[in-house]
Symmetry: D2
Subunit: 471 residues, 4 copies
């Protein structure tokens, strides 16, 4: 009931300054791209399998005059869409992959559409659609005003672990880019110099010797023992790494049958830290835990590299541009029905919410440490990039929850998406109008890079792990 | 190559005493039931899914004059086949389920027919076929000599964990039975008073609270933590249970995604001990480990009852009958090709084999402790039952190995199967000829039971877990 | 050699403003109390056993006209020393206990005076002496100027875990106090609104059943198993508590003989968090881990309450007083010999030191989270209290290290101690001169308290655990 | 009360065959050596510190005409006592060390004489005294009858872990010995071909990096973590070693203070198995667990060799001699007071006792696997040795318990001791009378040795760890 109401509510934009033509263009396409975001939300697809989602966005951009190149960097769902020529070259990034197991209706109580199926718990249905909406508005504005420059939309698959952007970096797609303007769904409208966590991870595989677990357990060497000794050791590690570190894992194979000593076992582990270099040191200690598990259990261990994202380098200059843009873009207000939905959802959070509402816009120069990881971090090591969040989720709702998945399908999500599109459009236009800002962004980037060089444990072999989310 | 040779070799029976008409009848059907065993070997089916295997055996028995009742005890692949009337009522039991992951060609090196597919690593293709072969011979002999009594074949599904026989006990199918003659494939021809291990097990499920593992791990309560704390505690238990105890487990669900604190985790655990009552005490301590895991991790634990087999009560009287029968039945000798196959297979065992060859028959009154578990154990608590093994596997080869699966498809397996059929036929005939032995067997059973009563944690609700092997 | 040089170096105070008579009084007694600090450093005594240290300070204060009451709050080494009458009542606190195992010479390399013996790794020899020096100077100044008010010195034993101050609170010794001015040795001169970590801890005792570990391990129930299952579970807890939490433990009894299943085992565990209330929740989860250890191992668990210190509530008003005082007090400079000593010591730290030198004074309103715990925290919940550190240790040196113990015996430690005495004296005099500040401090205290009430798990039964450091 | 009664009860020997002069001699000295056993029981001394106990036994043997050599093999409490000359050379072994923490009154309820003090929980006060009593009787008999041969008493210290006999082997003291007749206190009178468990063990020491556990846990590397990861791994090992294996450990150092990351931690671990060679393989896997603990925790591990005892090789010939001797020696009966004492003690055992009483003598050729370890095992690898037990403890009472320590001080213990002395005396006399038996024993020894050679991880450097029991 509730969701139907929300779905039909008009997408009312916040009041707009008179001269802002690009905002009018955003408003003109808002309903269409809101519907696009809803369509992607209704067909959630896992990383590298976003066939419908990518195709829909490609089609919309093509229909609006972009030149689309599909299947870039050996990724069937990776694409670029481009308009204009010459610099400044500005890239908007669109993610559209869903998360496993987070299927959820657009209701304020936990209810899967299909139990166990994927869902948009990170709001990427909005992410990719808002960027496309902004891209179309910018293109029209550039065209109308005859401004020099290139606007591009990069369809970046598999942000949730597959690292589509890293393959696009390796493929050289960021080489001529002046600035990347990025955003992510969140529970408030906010621009600052926050970063993301570097992460590194992969699959630890143990190989032992099978044996009948009742008749001859002493002749077996348990791969699961090796894995558990490793993981127990990792738990002991927690006390002795910097407190900002995160280490989390699941066991993806814990043996075939209880009456057989497991000859194979596997865990998928991810570690994170605000600094890629510190993380490398911690990860080597995790590797030692894995080696110890094999040594102590008489088994063999193999590691398969998985996700490896760098932390995001903030860009002071582009961040200032986006701060100005968001202040102009403004927040939004809940309708009574949305307020009711928000209240019900917050009641499920188990803690009082003390965060600013969607009508607020927060812009400052703080540098909050990240709490999540993204392959946008790697992009920030190779070109100037700034990022922001908007209130697509009810205040207090975190990413990767059913509550986030619910919001992403409602008018609340679409209003937040509109704030994002408006901010991106205004931000980009400021750069086109003042090309010096691209140079300043480049300088700010160099300063944060401080002579370091981007590296990644993900090999530059152009072979994305297209089955990573389903194997 | 090798296997083709073996497949074509004639099944030469050991020399037979003159008056043993029933052995001649066994010989007459040997080739047909050898082919049946091979056909079942070629289409390995998991417990409760033995549709082709059960249908084939039902059809053979029906064609040979048995009255077949299919789908007994709410099990689609459970059936009874009966001939004759009145007592003594003798039951031969036929198992025919395969084991997951043991797909294997009939070659002396590890090579799956289909990687990851089931295979007959416990030789049940031979087990069910030998019993059917014996049944047909006995039926013909009873018929020819006009002897009083009933011969039955019970098709008992899902011995590997599903406990088909227990549902048949609950359904009353053993109430009027005088004696059960059972056998199992092994690596030697042997009759003694050995037992099997009682076992008990099931699925331990932990339910926690999901949370983003990087952003808010402190708000999550990890179901996997609960499981690992439980399993670690179980490891500490090992030192403080009788050394004959066996506890083994696999982790069947270790979380959904590394970046989400697992809200669900599950292990499948089995414990065993030579005595059901001691095992109950140990299992309660394992339950305490599980409760402790939940308590320490702030999660919730649920237990779903799985396999629960009693230890086998030996029957001194029936065992003596089978001993005499096997001595008359005799062993068998390898052909040169079989000898070569056996040598190659033994070379893969990693240890010198010091066991008697298939030409030997071992009969004594020793009571070796069991190393495996079987639902035949439960049957032995409700009616007189005795059991033996024959050399279907090359000496040194243990059950639940690829080597066993390989043997079960060769002429070696079929020669061992023939020893079994001959022993069953001779043993049954001795009882029909001397009905007093049924009473003696009943008395021997009462003595071993010693006033105890069979109980099972598997509920008498007539709802077999038909999906246990595939879920 | 080096230390002898350092010992003989004159204690040169930083330049002093003309009118600051109290600073001249500090200077007049500096050499004497420097020697007192050295004498305490040479006879390090564990908590509640500081007999020589307390007696020496009592004697010095008595000799300087203080009225001394020894053995307060049922603690032989607890005492109060008082001069003057009426309000404002200002308390300076003196700690003087050493740490086990930190015996160290006053040299820049690790070298115990007596291996395994206690040492002043927290610089409490300086702490108690500086407060006494300031107390004497303040007393003389009050006397000379005929100012109204009371200056007290509280000799507070056993800060390192025994919680002497808590027993003094329970004994009512803080009831009429207006302000407590506290300090602690550190590696820089610094006043801010920093806090300390609340802590809570004690001894977890497991009781099992002994048995011969080879002959009948199954009849034993291992207390050590219970303890290890608990501690393993605690390791899993680390991921799911706020990252500022600290949990650390030692095993104080891990069994009597390897061939006996341990009937007793014990750990001493401490947990910390910036907020007492959050800590209480975390500690309850640790208790659940302990209960789980007992449950899973079939043993019994008992908890004996140990240290429980509240976090420090900052006092904005008194902190401002101390900030002004320290700016007037000034820092100090190294002599060439001290500089050499500092350089050698820093070279042992294994990391480049990026901290301000002792010539700097840092005063701000930042609120850095604490990294250690102190029973001064509890005092701050019952009366206005502010605290600061001075550079008694070479920059980069942390408390509870041999490097800190070395510094505490040198002229570097004594120079830092002089900065502390000067700051305390100036701060106290400002309050005596402006009694309104006491009321303002009370108001600031009420604001930070925010209606909460001090509680402690340490019972108000007046029975300090006098043997806690030696049992 | 009760014990006083028991103490005063006359030591009534079982009826004796007429011609057995040596038994009359045993009877003549029984009261004196009973008192000796009581005196040693009243002054329990730990291994290598048995100064009073050894001195008392040396004095008694010297007084009875033995030539005593004290302080052999660099052990102050090791000694030999000899009478006669030439072969056969028969050795009786006397142990006299107590166990830590087993102080116990001679009452049927747990009550320490001195809490925490040592006690004779293994009955070695009886062991050494019975052998001395037998030695004196044999000496008198040899003397009276002018028989050729040598009788020796070896005072072998520190059987409980110190391995006194191994140092005596290394010192060549067994080179000219024909037969060793050994016994051990037990709960029944029994001769068979039982063995003991080989054992191996020592101290695993971990060295980490200390750090303040609250301020900088990430800079610490916890030695205790290394130890716990090792020990957790050892728990996982239990499933995958032969079930007769025993692995047990205590933690002898688990850190110094909870607020310091432990830089040192230590465990004392012992492993056992019926076969020395299999044990060596298992111990290497335990070493791998220790290495894994160091690797995973970033610490360093050192191993200090401790106890290493071989399993006992049974001697068929000497065992037959002892069997005949015990049958002649006979058991004994309880007085009413002893029966009451026994009943009360058994009531504390928590399980019904189903063992034969002390009036029974059990002699057979069974080969029960051992449940404990002894350095008599090593002796059995270098010379013919046989052993037996007598009922010095109430049936059902195991060694290393307070119940055993209680019995060892009562008339029950002394009656059992008398059975032992009678058996030893009769056995030795049979050999002196039939010297061919010594050669037969040598042949039986060679057969069991089967070409193997005695080795020990305890170095032949003649430096016994005299402080092993007290450090």
């Amino acid at each position: 009931m509730c969701n139907r109401l929300l779905l039909l509510l008009p997408l009312v934009a916040a009041p707009v300054g008179a001269a802002d033509d690009v905002l009018a263009r955003v408003a003109a396409h808002a309903e269409r791209f809101g519907a696009v975001s809803r369509q992607i939300w209704e067909t959630p697809e896992l990383g590298f399998h976003e066939n419908k989602s990518a195709a829909l966005l490609e089609q919309e951009l093509r229909a609006n005059g972009f030149e689309v190149r599909a299947g870039v960097a050996n990724m069937p769902t990776g694409f670029t869409a481009s308009y204009g020529s010459g610099s400044p070259v500005i890239v908007l990034m669109g993610e559209f992959d869903a998360l496993p197991g987070l299927s959820q209706k657009d209701e304020p109580e936990q209810a899967a559409v299909t139990a166990g199926a994927p869902g948009h718990g990170c709001g990427h249905n909005l992410l990719g659609s808002a960027a496309a909406l902004a891209g179309v508005a910018i293109k029209e504005e550039l065209q109308a005003r005859g401004l020099k420059g290139t606007i591009r939309y990069y369809g970046t698959p598999a942000e949730e672990g597959g690292g589509g952007k890293i393959y696009m970096i390796h493929a050289g797609l960021f080489r001529d880019v002046d600035a990347v303007l990025a955003w992510h769904p969140g529970d408030s409208n906010r621009v600052n110099l926050g970063s993301s966590l570097a992460n590194n991870g992969g699959r630890f595989r143990f190989y032992g010797v099978a044996s009948h677990a009742a008749a001859a357990p002493d002749r077996g060497r348990s791969a699961l023992d090796g894995l558990m000794i490793m993981l127990n050791a990792v738990e002991f590690l927690r006390e002795h790494v910097p407190q900002e570190t995160r280490i989390h894992y699941i066991i993806t194979n814990g043996g075939a049958a209880p009456n057989v000593v497991p000859a194979f076992a596997e865990a998928n582990l991810v570690a994170r830290h605000p600094d890629s270099q510190v993380l490398d040191g911690i990860f080597e200690r995790i590797m030692n835990c894995a080696r110890a598990g094999a040594l102590a259990s008489g088994t063999r261990m193999e590691f398969e590299q998985g996700t490896n994202y760098a932390n995001t380098l903030p860009n002071d200059e582009l961040s200032a541009v986006l701060g100005r843009a968001m202040q102009k873009a403004g927040g939004y207000e809940y309708t009574p029905a949305e307020r009711e939905f928000a209240g019900k959802l917050q009641a499920t959070l188990g803690a009082e919410v003390k965060r600013a509402g969607p009508e607020h816009v927060q812009v400052d120069k703080s540098e909050p440490p990240g709490v999540a990881s993204t392959d946008a971090g790697d992009v920030s090591w190779v070109v100037p990039l700034a990022s922001f969040t908007t209130a697509t989720f009810v205040p207090g709702v975190g990413a990767h929850t059913w509550q986030a998945a619910a919001c992403a399908g409602t008018s609340i999500g679409r209003k937040g998406m509109l704030v994002a599109a408006r901010t991106l459009a205004l931000g980009a236009m400021e750069i086109y109008e003042n090309p010096g800002e691209a140079a300043a962004a480049r300088e700010a980037y160099r300063k944060r890079l401080a002579g370091r060089k981007w590296t990644s444990h993900i090999p530059a072999d152009g072979k994305p792990p297209l089955d990573y989310a389903t194997k």
